[in-house]
Symmetry: C2
Subunit: 657 residues, 2 copies
């Protein structure tokens, strides 16, 4: 917050959200607010202001609004906060916006009183007096051709939970009610041909009393304390972060959660652009059981539910150590109020072990320097699962997005002795956890020494020359094969583990004085399973971004969501998002303002170790400067210890014992 | 150390080394001691003792000895420490044992006074009065067909170092003297056809005075302190470690450095075997420049120099934080004395962020549990490079070997304007850092619930059924395809990034009660570039272990070194080590006592950021329990915070702001 108002990229404040709601409701009464969020300033306007914030015109504050009107009509608009006017408005057809927490919360109450659901529960062996023990995780329906996209549906994944404190996912039920949001009613129930009645196995829980009953807590972990007596090394002004030569703005919205903007590095006084914008923009979690209706389980957690809307208040368990700073989040409620999430983002430093070390073997003269890292984190809960998203900054110019997966497996029921055909794992008696993938799409709006960048695919390759030839006599020759991705079509590229493929984002106008190679940031990513659902499958059609490890597009304002702006109930029959923008693939991305879309992730074949709650499974990738800095940029980090050869010879060699 | 003497796997003590030397010298005078190291007890004897240490016979203490007799004759023997007798002895032909630090140290002095080297230095532009500024890194010759393996050669990689405190690798010289260890003389000099005289460019250094001159240290890193006021959570008895249900023995030898033996996990009172022995057993670092004589640059750092012999005294810079325990190392010197390395191993705990978390989206009831990890670390210096080897133990049964690469690039000279043909990068004017790989071989002597194990290759695969078929209507089906590796030939397997291939080590007699899958440890490794030197190349022939990501053999005593017992100057024309043991590949490894050999690593295309000292590049892999524990084994770790649904409803929901 500066005297002239918020930073142009700051999320809408509670007051701004209230103002927008007031403006909208003055024109459109009785609407349910789905989204009220900052429309980030157009890049052309924003870059002018960034270049000269004191004299360039301040970008306008504009809010994106999505509402659902009575009857289920969806409206999208823009509200100018200065003029307090609706600048744009349109009513949509056949599109369903993101599902809000309130919509999710509504389903369970309806399910418990629906006669047909009660009937199914009875068939499963649940008494009518036990209906308060019936729970559901209401997911968007995804896409179901029987229901289409003109009305708003959720599928209720059903569970029995004998005690309110029991792990919800250990007594799955076999049927799946379909809920119509507008009607507030169950309109259909999917019932499998093989019935799987409730199995009342002994419960397994991770709550303290359950652990106590099972033998108690281990008592041999001694305290480990981390303190920063002089405070942190970072400086946060409003939402602008400065740390170890880095500077960037920390945004947050309903959909992506954390957004990092205008990332620069102070290279010996020269403020160098690296990324204009960096965030996770989409996910898809396809499940691998082909039995109907499990094909509908392929959550787009960001586009269908929102990493911001689902984010945890870390007041309730950030549990970082050391000095922690928090940022809050503010969102509209359906009924036009404001929902606060205290401590939506946590920021802290961690020691990171060795930064560099060298010992001269002649005299044991040594330099050892220790590393520090900065972590910007949010954790969101997607029904059963939790995702901890960390944006880790290193002193040497590396950015390391890291995701920690924890929470609870999505589960389905299985009969005693039933063969699950390899589509899942019985992690507990009666509990079938289906195979699934977690695929994340990271949007890298590159700005390596300026907006004009070029992307190369880089493969480690043996020389083409045969062993024994003059050019490769001993056969040891190998090199980095660089392939320029000149068009959006060429840029659709997959991972190759055998060549440890990486991708370089390069500025061809900034050639390194020594290496004669362009200033680059290298994407080093090793968990890229690709999309396992086959080409032509429902998931393949809907999740265009997941068809390749890397896509590259030319930057355009508003091209943010690779699976479309409104993701729930898209059929995938028409290209939306990334495939639509790429089209025939002929657009040049050679030395242009480019955006790289990287899809990576994990394949999860569940095991009993993951149940009833899953120990963290981490995954990580790197954006590393290569030929960007003149040389090692961290030599000026004070060493832990330095003994030069001249000191060893002056003092005698270091003692051996 | 117990009343009855050292643990059978403890390294030889200084007294034991001295005793062995005395026994050997009484039979063989004037020998240079190359190796005096514990011969680990035969597995059959050792397992009997482990099963019943109080009554089974104590395994004998036996030392492996390698000496070089006058004239260069190499002798290998075994000495029984109880009987104080040489039990075995043989003189070898055409084999060269590991190079000791003393042999490395000897070369530089000879180089500086050799007239032919002085002549080459003059041709390079170095005055005779500057010969004290000429340095060399003496590597074993690797293999050079002109010199064979009957005498003992080193190649001297030459550098000019104007000041003793200058980074040695910034003024490389273009010629390469060959040193005969026995003669103590330079016997040849390899001189390139293109000469590259010394370029006296401005120096670049990382020493404190150089940093001060370049603008000084950054001053904005605030202290971060880690304390364990009640001490560590581990208990070290002798060299036996107990921590968080883990128990194992920490060995150390000249070659592998850290060796972990008899790794078990206390699973609710049931002590379960996991690994009999775990270590890094070999490395190869092939460089990719085909110009003669760079093909000789492919160091087997463990087999040719020894991760133990080269290990750092961490007294001089372990710089771990928190409570640290150290273990020392003791090695023979050539002349029959004992060399002590104080603090060869460091042991400490670290906080590891989230262990698990779940929040119920209905009421924000939450459980958050924080993780701790245990790190057993050594750091060794291989001339220019440093390798920090960490064996990380997690509470959930995961073992995570992690290697951090730092130190300085190996460099060669380049003329102004010269094209390096893509085989390297000019990281500083005149400094050409060649492309290279770091390939590590980890030996996993598996013992998953006992010695009889079976290895499977596991690939994430889409269903073979087409989209739209009855069995895969929506195309989303996928599964874990398991391929049993039944013979040593079948087990030669490569990585497949597209199927995110893993390998399971399974006990087919221990079927999980819920999942019906065998108790397994899964090898999850994602940095597996394969060997870039082509099949038939010198490196390919010598480094048989690097031809595939995974080899599996049936356990046999003394099959420890996959590139052979004596690695220097092997030609690779005859199979030694792993390829020899595998032979025709027909041996069954199905339900046998198996050893899995995993080769993984990095490809390093240098960049100026890596010079004059390289910020750490980490790589990591996992050994994860799957279908091994009944369920999540860390539910009994005390949570940081736990609020159950019943507590939320009793207390009201947690406050929003």
């Amino acid at each position: 917050m500066t005297p002239s108002g918020p930073h142009p990229l700051d999320p809408l404040s509670a007051d701004e959200i209230k103002l927008v709601i007031k403006v909208v409701t003055s024109s459109h009464q009785n609407v349910k607010f789905n989204v009220v969020s900052l429309q980030e300033p157009r890049k052309a306007v924003m870059t002018k202001w960034l270049a000269n914030p004191s004299s360039a015109p301040r970008p306008p504050r504009v809010a994106e609004v999505t509402v659902i009107a009575p009857g289920g009509k969806v409206g999208d608009g823009l509200v100018d906060l200065r003029t307090r006017k609706i600048e744009q408005w349109k009513w949509l057809d056949g599109l369903q916006p993101i599902i809000t927490l309130e919509e999710l919360q509504a389903v369970e109450h309806v399910v418990r009183t629906d006669p047909k659901v009660i009937e199914q529960c009875k068939l499963s062996g649940i008494g009518e007096d036990e209906m308060h023990k019936v729970y559901c995780d209401p997911w968007t329906i995804g896409y179901d051709e029987r229901f289409g996209s003109n009305a708003r549906f959720q599928q209720a994944l059903m569970y029995f939970r004998p005690h309110v404190d029991d792990c919800q996912y250990q007594y799955p039920l076999d049927f799946c009610p379909i809920y119509d949001s507008e009607k507030g009613a169950i309109v259909h129930i999917d019932i499998p041909t093989t019935r799987r009645p409730l199995r009342r196995e002994a419960e397994i829980n991770y709550t303290p009393d359950a652990v106590q009953r099972a033998g108690g807590y281990r008592s041999d972990i001694k305290p480990l304390e981390i303190t920063q007596p002089e405070g942190p090394s970072f400086r946060l002004s409003g939402r602008e972060m400065e740390w170890q030569n880095w500077k960037f703005h920390i945004g947050f919205n309903y959909r992506e959660g954390i957004v990092l903007n205008n990332i620069t590095y102070n290279d010996k006084g020269n403020i160098r652009d690296i990324f204009y914008r960096l965030s996770l923009v989409e996910m898809v979690v396809p499940y691998g059981n082909p039995d109907h209706p499990h094909q509908r389980k392929h959550a787009f957690d960001l586009g269908e539910y929102g990493a911001g809307y689902m984010t945890n208040s870390l007041k309730l368990g950030c549990d970082c150590k050391g000095y922690i700073r928090y940022l809050d989040a503010e969102f509209p409620t359906q009924d036009g109020q404001v929902r606060y999430i205290k401590n939506a983002i946590c920021i802290h430093e961690e020691d990171n072990g060795l930064l560099f070390k060298h010992t001269d073997f002649r005299d044991d003269s040594t330099i050892v320097t220790r590393a520090r890292k900065l972590i910007i984190q949010q954790i969101f809960t997607a029904a059963n699962y939790e995702y901890a998203i960390q944006w880790i900054f290193h002193q040497d110019g590396t950015i390391q997005p890291e995701i920690k997966l924890t929470g609870i497996l999505n589960t389905y029921s299985i009969n005693p002795g039933e063969d699950n055909n390899g589509w899942g794992t019985e992690v507990y008696p009666g509990v079938n956890a289906h195979n699934h993938q977690h695929l994340f799409c990271m949007r890298i709006d590159a700005n390596v020494d300026g907006p004009k960048n070029t992307v190369f695919m880089v493969d480690a390759m043996p020389s083409e020359e045969p062993v024994g030839s003059a050019a490769n006599r001993y056969g040891n020759a190998f090199y980095a094969k660089k392939t320029k991705l000149a068009t959006t079509g060429e840029a659709k590229t997959d991972y190759n583990g055998a060549t440890v493929r990486t991708w370089d984002i390069s500025n061809m106008s900034k050639i390194h004085p020594y290496s004669k190679k362009p200033a680059s940031y290298k994407l080093v990513s090793r968990e890229i399973p690709g999309l396992l659902p086959r080409p032509g499958s429902l998931v393949y059609k809907r999740a265009g971004f997941a068809r390749h490890a890397v896509h590259v597009t030319k930057y355009r304002d508003d091209q943010l969501w690779p699976a479309g702006l409104h993701v729930p109930q898209t059929s995938g029959e028409t290209d939306v998002g990334l495939p639509e923008w790429i089209g025939d693939g002929k657009e040049s991305i050679d030395d242009e303002d480019v955006v790289l879309w990287h899809t990576f992730g994990l394949v999860h074949f569940p095991a009993p170790e993951d149940f009833p709650v899953m120990p963290v499974e981490p995954m990580t990738l790197l954006l590393r400067p290569r030929n960007f800095f003149a040389n090692n940029p961290v030599m000026d980090v004070p060493p832990q210890r330095s003994v030069k050869p001249s000191q060893v010879s002056a003092e005698g060699p270091p003692p051996r014992l």
